[in-house]
């Protein structure tokens, strides 16, 4: 390579300023806070996958839903089915967690956040990144981020199942605090899913003539409004799913117990 970063003739024509950035504000806050929050989420999720107290009638912890194995309590199985049968004895969350995890991992918002907070590429705008070379999402492995829309399809299904769980809880225990936590979580998760950039593209973003598809255009307008809040929904739904999951497990363990728990 004749034109490598710092010392090429072309590069030397730029203002030679040694500082990585001349920003005087607290630009490091966003990557730092992102790093802390996401790490906390990962630690919690790892613990939750292996924790077996994921069901206490009628509450189902979101990280372990749907439950598809016979090792789940009868009531916890999705529509009473257990397609994975007896041989599967590991925690049921492992079977399905790849879908919501993949959805968030390839989400355009999360990509932005972890490229900044974990990979420092860039840590903040106009702050030099530490890497010598950069190819971004133009080749393997990051080119795989383009599968995002398939995770979106899966996330629609997961979102519906969480809504179904919340309805079951409502039917069996309308006055339970857990019911309302699950309902709030199901709403937030579904709003997050609908605000997805791939969803926006699928509704009508891919068209060039909105006027020929009035219904899809209408859907696009609604999704676009949600999409403008995608980052907020991503974060709020992350906290809500973590909170709801923890709450159900605490009830299941008997740590939280009062009449309307």
């Amino acid at each position: 390579m004749t034109q490598t970063a710092a010392d090429s003739p072309a590069r030397r024509q730029r203002a030679q300023i040694k500082e990585r950035t001349l920003r005087t504000d607290q630009w490091w806050r966003y990557p730092l806070v992102t790093f802390i929050i996401f790490t906390a989420f990962l630690v919690y999720a790892t613990w939750a996958i292996f924790d077996m107290d994921y069901f206490v009638s009628p509450y189902h912890a979101p990280f372990a839903s749907p439950c598809l194995a016979t090792s789940c309590p009868e009531e916890a199985r999705l529509f009473g089915l257990a397609p994975f049968g007896d041989w599967y004895t590991w925690p049921p969350g492992i079977l399905i967690l790849g879908l919501p995890a993949g959805f968030r991992f390839t989400c355009y918002y999360y990509r932005k956040a972890y490229y900044r907070g974990f990979w420092l590429s860039p840590p903040a705008c106009a702050v030099g990144e530490p890497h010598r070379t950069y190819t971004g999402e133009s080749r393997f492995p990051l080119i795989l981020q383009n599968v995002h829309r398939y995770f979106f399809y899966a996330a629609i299904v997961i979102g519906l199942i969480l809504a179904y769980d919340a309805v079951l809880a409502l039917v069996h225990k309308p006055a339970g605090l857990g019911t309302w936590i699950l309902i709030a979580n199901a709403i937030l998760i579904n709003l997050y899913t609908l605000s997805c950039h791939s969803c926006r593209h699928i509704t009508a973003g891919r068209l060039t003539h909105f006027s020929r598809h009035p219904v899809r255009y209408k859907a696009w307008t609604v999704v676009s409004k949600l999409n403008a809040k995608h980052q907020e929904l991503a974060l709020v739904s992350m906290f809500s799913v973590m909170g709801a999951d923890l709450y159900v497990r605490l009830v299941a363990k008997g740590i939280v117990s009062f009449p309307f728990a």
Binding site: G136, N146, H197, T208
Partner: protein, 253 residues
Amino acid sequence: MSYKAKFRVWRGEGGEGRLEDFTVEVNEGEVVLDIIHRLQATQAPDLAVRWNCKAGKCGSCSMEINGKPRLGCMTRMSTFTEDETITVTPMRTFPVIKDLVTDVSFNYQKAREIPSFTPPADVKPGEYRMQQIDVERSQEFRKCIECFMCNNVCHVIRDHEENKPGFAGPRFLMRIAELDMHPYDVVDRKDAAQEEHGLGYCNITKCCTEVCPEHIKITDNALIPMKERVVDRKYDPLVWLGNKIFKRSGSKS
């Protein structure tokens, strides 16, 4: 209501130069460009700065103020405290001609590399019939004042000179998106966006959007939608199959 502000201004030619300190008068209501002009008028008559409209509309006065790409004419002095030292440098991604003036021809070069608007052969000028909702989306991108601060801040080229040949920068990837969304444009731009203009380099970290003085949602409304269009074309087997079965052209629906 005037006070003496501390300024550090980068001075030099080609890439060589240094930050020079100045103490300069600031009056109520002034912007950074006013102060640069006062320096020219009083202490540094040969200080070079490019400007034109002083109204945030010509895109000439792009510079970096306290490390952030800003328009000199739209950055109010009242946003700084009186004891703060204000550092002003040229844009870091482009070669310096002198002081705050950079050579932005990279951007004109990239603009030329994108095939221009191409209507269908049988439609003559004057015969275009478009509905407002069909062109609305790309009208946002027409607000661009070509200040090139988005291309300047984009880490793909800011931190990696070697990526310049293969990357059009957010300004011109947005131009591709604008044309791809245009109801009367017939050129297929998806493959070229990815392969020639480097859309895949963008990792949607949104710095272009953060600095755009016209508040264009470059990443959300142009780059991500364009990435999704490229997925349709190159990476989504279902869309490919659907286009085969229903014999859709796939490009303009």
